[in-house]
Amino acid sequence: MKRAFLLLRRRAVGSIVVLLIVIVGAFFLLEAAPGDAVDAYVLSIGGGDPALVQSLRESYGLDRSLFARLWLYLTALAQLDLGWSVAFNRPISAVIFERLPNTLWLMGSATALAFSLGTLLGILAGARPRSACDRILSVGSLSLYAIPSFWLGLVLSIVFAVQLRWFPTAGIETIASGKQGLARALDIAWHLVLPVCALGFIYLALFLRMMRAGMAEAWRQDYALAARARGLVRRRIVLRHVARTALLPVVTMLGLQAASMLGGSVVIESVFAIPGFGRLAQEAVALRDAPLLVAIIIVSAVMVMIANLVVDAAYALLDPRVGAAETSA
């Protein structure tokens, strides 16, 4: 436990530097965007004279030098103030935190589906490398891995929502249904089935392939040979010795794919019209709200960072070798 904590502390310190680089980069992206917040505001109130524009710029500090503005941005961020969204006419942090839960549900369910089913099928394929079952699963997972998630989402909604009418085509819950408690949770789950499948299937294929490759590698190791020589039951060798070692890289991948899954949720949420964080990014682009878009990038970087820290800690708990240098040092 202490080992995991020390490792986590060192990683967290390193992450702050990386996050600072992200913020500075995001700030320069914001600077590169045509127009600033005052331009957008003046446009939204139907124009104003140059004196008003000038006084607004002064009050927001937008007339100062680049570094003074960067400092203003950083101090505001330190107080969790992400700025003002002109498009929504609300604080950006309020807009983002309202949208986050939907995306976390979507990503969490997709990860759970991909990880459980992916490792399970991976064990099935890796139990006997080069068997017929392995070949079928390998080719199947490779094909699944090649399907773009947004197209898969469209095809799923054509088949299961438009033709068969099993699931709704869009949205996160039935509008104005007045459902509460468990009924509402079931309603949301029913709406999430297709998007979760569309988002999760690619990672399912990824985890399956990683698990299978790791097990094929583990079969070649001496300890697998030793286990076989000891005459252990095959199922015990597969589960206790071979699959166990192959699981570690898959756990690492769980953190690494957080960033790409967050990117994937942008398109999936647009396909299924889910009012989430990813769809917010697309709305920010459509409504030309650069400060909101930049805030989304920073928040997503923080989320990916947290996911990686959690996975690091889990990894340290699973593998006693990780971070062993930390306690001795």
């Binding site: 680089i21 090649a146 773009p148 947004f150 469209l154 398109v267 682009v285 878009l293 997503s300």
Partner: protein, 276 residues
């Protein structure tokens, strides 16, 4: 040469090679078969596929030929994918090599920048970049490369660090080879295979990212791409689902071809390593 023979022996590799060869010839022949702009109106609107000989795959909402769009789209997809990968590989290799050779504070600073790019979702970065700068072919290529150069940078750095210490490099130095000659004749051929394997995966990712960008309407508006065709078909998803499905199949085949190709390459390389 033996690598090629080994590659041709793996069924995955051959299947991938055939698929990619087919797609590249389709992309190259697009202008021969369909010299007209694929965005121009060619016939009646919403013609279903396999009905009219003049339009084997039907027409879209505005009467544009789907087959022409599909073939021109193959060209756009492959061109963007390959160009973005080249940019990402060159930038990544440069940064990684500098970090690996320089070491110390330069290495530390460059790798923290690589970390920063890795925790930002590449698709969001591309989305933001295109929306700030404005959509055009070049901007889309750069936007995709922006999220893809970190992999090559890490790989190049690791390769530099490991190859620098190998015996054959030391031997080349002892016999008085020029450092540039060592780099080109000794280091490069050994560092190339993993770079190629990574490159094919990046091309696949770039093709998918480009499709997703143009699906959201952030591609070059003057180009037909598979992503924009799927988005266009989405407007009539209930009545004419084939408009969205057909270009998607093109995407799946392209990405599958690339993966099979890299699978075959990986298998051939693994066998070489076992022999060596």
């Amino acid at each position: 040469m033996t690598l090629l023979i080994r590659f041709l022996r793996s069924p995955e590799g051959v299947a991938g090679l055939v698929l990619l060869g087919l797609l590249i010839s389709v992309a190259l022949l697009a202008s021969v078969f369909f010299p007209r702009d694929p965005l121009s109106i060619a016939g009646p609107a919403l013609l279903p596929p396999f009905q009219d000989r003049a339009f084997p795959l039907g027409t879209d909402r505005l009467g544009r030929d789907v087959l022409a769009g599909l073939m021109h789209g193959a060209r756009a997809s492959l061109a963007v994918g390959i160009a973005a990968t080249l940019v990402a590989m060159v930038v990544g290799a440069l940064v990684g090599t500098i970090a690996g050779f320089a070491g110390g504070i330069v290495d530390e600073a460059l790798m923290r920048i690589v970390d920063a790019f890795q925790i930002v979702p590449g698709f969001l970065l591309a989305l933001a970049f295109v929306s700030v700068v404005g959509a055009s072919l070049l901007v889309v290529i750069l936007a995709i490369a922006l999220g893809a150069w970190t992999g090559p940078a890490r790989l190049a750095r690791a390769e530099v660090l490991s190859i620098r210490e190998r015996d054959y490099v030391a031997a080349a130095r002892v016999i008085g080879m020029h450092p540039l000659e060592i780099a080109i004749r000794e280091v490069l051929p050994n560092a190339l295979p993993p770079v190629l394997a990574l490159g094919s995966v990046i091309v696949a990712g770039a093709v998918l990212t480009e499709a997703a960008l143009s699906f959201l309407g952030l591609g070059d508006p003057n180009l037909v791409t598979w992503g924009s065709m799927i988005a266009e078909g989405r407007n009539v998803l209930r009545t004419a689902p084939f408009l969205s499905i057909i270009p998607g199949i093109g995407l799946v085949l392209t990405v599958l071809g690339i993966y099979l190709f890299s699978e075959g390459l990986g298998e051939a390389l693994a066998r070489r390593r076992i022999r060596a």
